[in-house]
Symmetry: C2
Subunit: 247 residues, 2 copies
Amino acid sequence: MIETLLCRLENFQPLADEDRRVLQQALTPPVRMDRGEDVISEGERPEHVHLMIDGWACRYKLLADGQRHIMAYLMPGDLCDIHITLLNRMDHSIGILTRAHVAGIPRQALDHIYAHHPELTRALFWSTLVDEATLREWLVNEGHRPADQRLAHLFCELLVRARVAGLTENHCMELPLTQDELSDAMGLSTVHTNRVLQKLRREGLLTLRGRTLSVHDWQGLTEFADFDPLYLHLERSERMSDLLGGI
Amino acid sequence: MIETLLCRLENFQPLADEDRRVLQQALTPPVRMDRGEDVISEGERPEHVHLMIDGWACRYKLLADGQRHIMAYLMPGDLCDIHITLLNRMDHSIGILTRAHVAGIPRQALDHIYAHHPELTRALFWSTLVDEATLREWLVNEGHRPADQRLAHLFCELLVRARVAGLTENHCMELPLTQDELSDAMGLSTVHTNRVLQKLRREGLLTLRGRTLSVHDWQGLTEFADFDPLYLHLERSERMSDLLGGI
DNA sequence: CGATCTGTTGATGCTCATCAAATCCAGTGG
DNA sequence: CCACTGGATTTGATGAGCATCAACAGATCG
């Protein structure tokens, strides 16, 4: 799954073999984690950067009233928290959503990369900038789009990201999220999310059942959601071209 | 106003005189801009990083239906778009909100900094991580908080940021935003924003009139808004201590 | 096989958008 | 100095979108 990460980083620019090796060797062995556990919690001082090997996680914050807001989904190949070497304390938590394996890059190894591998450093920096761009799009999504478009837009994004990570078959992907977890990310109630999902299904755009997302009308979905993948900055990905062609 | 930037960067760690000089000398002379102009537009390939000398700007995207969503406010001392050196094309625009002066750091100068001034580079990287953290908080704000808390939270943030930039007097600051511009950031209609502002005023929390924000009950406001400034990562700022003490 | 989590359905009401019009204000030109 | 103008703020009325509460059906799992 380091392959997935490398593959993603190469959306910025091709990596030297040396850089690939350095990154690979920096990784600690994957740790098994279960749904409900935190990779790291708000307020903690992190010592590792974490990499999702398999399984899904999310960034989230808890509000004063106990509600959880999910700010990002992390799928296999995603780095969880590069920030962390530079920020003192986590301002949010990272929680596991499925059975998962998580590897780490020790702070020390990362410092070494920063000091001696400028190209790799830039690639990692690039990757956080993409995360930031994604965050901006989510902000637009929650701020301005009604519930149906909002969910549709999320599914577009997830399908593209999964595609680039090699996690799709045709227009289907494993999506191990409950409607509750979707709701906490979209700022909707579970009930409303449920009704919107039914509507998207009725309209022949997609179905979500048994942890599998199937997109039936990709073109229709992207148009409905006003989805423009520019913000994912994946222009270089070969796996993207057919999808993008369809947009 | 480079002072403000340096002062902000030193929230990460004190800068060497050498680094301060390098940054100062990298700046191009400020250019005068007017409300409505774009510093840079979506899709463009940027050649400078921009620094707000005076006046305000915002990051925004235009949606398919013509609505504008504001994703960040930029005040004097804020860098607009460091990303830019690494991302190919802007996935959003930066628009001027008041008469303003904007300086630039040429891409070339920035590359030089990246290559030869690791500490300064880290400080700049840190600064984008804070931007990202702010984005996450905005996401929570729009996703989960009702309109009154949402606006209150925004005002808390703006006051703290202005305070650190030396732009406040007591609990007042110049806030040159129309209710329309506030609405576009909060995902509310102008009408509703207006009513919420009246409510916050009636409750004695703050008044916003004639481009001036006056917070009358800081403690009450932060409690009402569920505001925790951790995400701004300003622990080192001396100017913050009195405000934070009040939280 | 019950216990628990997830998904589904119905009913009710609040928050907020929308439309429309009135007022206020700063700037501009006669 | 005043009339004019266009933008910003304010007010009222109406209705849509979505939250909330409650209950039930299905799935999953030890």
